[in-house]
């Protein structure tokens, strides 16, 4: 699934910054995040809680709050089906609703809270179809049935007639994917879509997303904390920590030779099935805790937990995100020295 990024990219996130004015202070949710995504490509955004990965996803969907407490800078340029380029952050509400679903769609971790419990599955898929396309109800029903069948849902007509609580978690996520795909979006934002599912169902959903992507050349932004899932599905990876990108590059390269100490530690802390020598072998843990977005450490935000940090270097200025290899960027003042 390696694709060269065509120009212009389908999605161009340019210096996105999102801050919230909270009572306790300014929350630096996302700071200066930039990346591009091409047709048919899968980009994984990886991070722990508070890393800003979900906020980035919501920003792309135009779902950030528009009140005075939310400060948003930068641009999110999305190439629409007609070829025009829109900055999601500068669209009117109405224009944004048209882009959402049509050009970019989103699925979430918990399909139960994304589906309305009092409407049947059928009426929710049909609503999504009719929201964006001027089709009669009968055509929309036929569309919904076809979508579910394409997604490998057994007896789609029975599913259409059922209510969210009557379905399993895996089936609900399939329904959410059907709704997301109903208008054939060019990009899909998947925010932890398999985190709440059992591994065997996760494997089914991941295989399904891969198949849909192969058939439609849809671009996918896959937001997750699970590096093993990234290894399975993504072409490129963006690693976020405390609101900033700390490393990015092709998945194979980053997994083979991570440059940022945070990425290294995360990869080493993964339990690996093939590497169990004997039970009780310690996993490599990262000491300390993820910093609070209200009180970020000075300099590199990872330095208090970093085994390679040097006083006077890492706790001063925030290091730049700089090239370290072809198509790769790293944010670490010492990446040249710590191999």
């Amino acid at each position: 699934m390696q694709h060269a990024t065509p120009s212009p990219p389908l999605l161009d996130v340019d210096a996105l910054t999102v801050h919230y004015r909270a009572r306790a202070g300014l929350v630096h949710a996302v700071s200066d995040v930039s990346f591009q995504l091409g047709q048919g490509e899968t980009l994984a955004i990886v991070g722990e809680s508070g890393s800003g990965k979900s906020t980035t996803g919501l920003a792309i969907m135009g779902l950030l709050p528009t009140d005075r407490r939310t400060v948003v800078h930068g641009a999110i340029r999305l190439t629409s089906k007609s070829g025009s380029i829109n900055d999601v952050l500068r669209l009117s509400d109405r224009e944004r609703r048209r882009v959402r679903g049509n050009d970019v769609a989103m699925i979430f971790q918990d399909p139960m809270s994304s589906l309305n419990p009092i409407y049947s599955i059928g009426s929710q898929i049909i609503e999504a179809v009719q929201q964006h396309r001027n089709v009669a109800r009968r055509a929309a029903v036929a569309d919904a049935l076809r979508l579910l069948a394409e997604l490998g849902v057994p007896s789609p007509d029975r599913i259409l007639a059922s209510y969210p609580h009557q379905l399993s978690g895996g089936m609900r996520q399939r329904v959410m994917i059907a709704i997301a795909l109903s208008c054939r979006p060019r990009a899909l934002i998947a925010d932890e879509p398999t985190t709440a599912l059992d591994v065997t169902i996760q494997a089914q959903i991941l295989a399904l997303l891969k198949r849909v992507q192969r058939d439609t050349a849809m671009a996918v932004v896959f937001i997750t904390h699970n590096l093993a899932v990234v290894a399975e599905v993504a072409d490129r990876i963006v690693v976020m920590y405390a609101g900033r990108i700390v490393e990015t590059g092709p998945v194979r390269d980053v997994f083979k030779s991570p440059r940022m100490p945070y990425t290294r530690s995360l990869l080493r802390s993964l339990p690996r099935l093939g590497h169990v020598r004997r039970s009780g072998d310690p996993l490599e843990a990262i000491p300390g805790n993820v910093p609070s977005p209200l009180a970020l450490p000075p300099g590199c935000t990872f330095h208090p937990r970093c085994p390679h940090q040097v006083g006077g270097v890492c706790d001063g200025l925030i290091p730049n995100l700089e090239p370290c290899a072809p198509n790769r960027l790293v944010r670490c003042a010492r990446w040249r020295e710590i191999d």
Partner: protein, 327 residues
């Protein structure tokens, strides 16, 4: 009783929950949560329970702690029949067996300080003479889980998820239990914190000689911590064996399918895998014979009529499958 006898011995344990419907709340069926489970846990041993949601993992944990009563079967703890313990001894048992839950946010009272939360079991069990001694003991316990004494007077709201889970572990350890149930203790935590908690539990097992029942949906995490793993499907044990062998050479088709579904953290090894099709059947009307047969690639006619017994296939290894030639 020789010291080598297992701490916990479970024989043919079953738990069915009634399903009631209608105005008269009539029983219309049973959820077969656990069916005929037999296993042992040795002193100083960590047994992992692996399985998907609804496989009966947490029901077994609650049965072993006697938080719920089984429908049938026997559980012995340190040679005594757990289900017939007199009240005084049951109180003793409540001290000797403890549990750590998945959600460290829901299992600490937000109004209690760390010191109050950790010392509460000591006071309930009347194990400390004074508040001052309780605080000394709390400091020791917090040191055991690598939390500094400066946290004693903080409340859960001021702690991170990983720190809260450490406090829950310290609280469970306060009464010096011999047996701990850890029900998905690291699942709600961030990736970088998960390893801390797993390592802490592994260290405590060695230092304190604890026996543990470790429940997780993540079989890779389990392989690192557990001595043996029991794989559950729809309330039945499919396979039991030493962790590294079971993970390296699964003997039951379900174990093999479960392992192949685990995403591999090496992008070089990306592959098309045989997927386990469909979903887990309803535990209200489980399939006849082998409960896994409806999704098993290797099922034969006999699988529908015979419930396969858990039989020994190798030193320390058991599986509930009629076939010897698979997977």
């Amino acid at each position: 009783m020789p010291i080598s006898s297992p701490l916990i011995h479970v024989r043919d344990l079953s738990k069915r929950f009634e399903v009631r419907r209608g105005a008269l709340r009539q029983i219309v069926g049973h959820v077969h949560a656990v069916e005929g489970a037999s296993f042992t846990i040795d002193r100083r041993e960590v047994l992992g329970l692996a399985g998907e949601s609804g496989s009966g993992k947490s029901t077994i944990a609650r049965l072993l702690l006697r938080l719920i009563e089984p429908t049938s079967g026997q559980i012995s703890f340190d040679g005594n029949d757990l289900l017939r313990l007199p009240a005084a001894e049951l109180r003793q048992f409540r001290r000797r067996a403890q549990i750590v839950f998945q959600d460290p946010y829901g299992s600490l009272d937000p109004r209690m300080t760390v010191a109050e939360a950790v010392s509460e079991p000591l006071i309930v069990q009347k194990l400390v003479a004074s508040q001052r001694l309780a605080r000394e003991r709390v400091a020791e316990l917090l040191a055991l889980v690598a939390i500094g004494p400066e946290y004693m007077d903080r409340r859960p709201g001021e702690l991170s998820g990983g720190q809260r889970q450490r406090v829950c572990i310290a609280r469970a350890l306060s009464v010096e239990p011999e047996f701990i149930v850890a029900d998905e203790p690291a699942s709600a935590l961030d990736a970088s914190i998960q390893a801390q908690v797993i390592n802490l539990l592994a260290g405590l097992k060695t230092r304190l000689g604890l026996a543990m029942l470790f429940i997780s949906h993540d079989i890779a995490v389990m392989a690192h911590l557990c001595d043996r793993i029991a794989v559950l499907y729809l309330g039945r044990i499919m396979e039991i064996g030493p962790s590294s062998e079971l993970v390296g050479r699964p003997k039951h088709p379900y174990t093999a399918a479960l392992l192949s579904a685990v995403p591999n953290p090496d992008p070089e090894l990306r592959r098309e895998r045989p997927l386990l099709e469909g979903e887990v059947p309803s535990p209200v009307s489980p399939p006849s014979g082998c409960v896994f047969r409806t999704r098993c690639r290797f099922a034969v006619a006999a699988c529908a009529s015979t419930v396969p017994p858990l039989r020994q296939i190798d030193q320390d290894r058991f599986k509930a499958c009629l076939r010897d030639d698979v997977p």
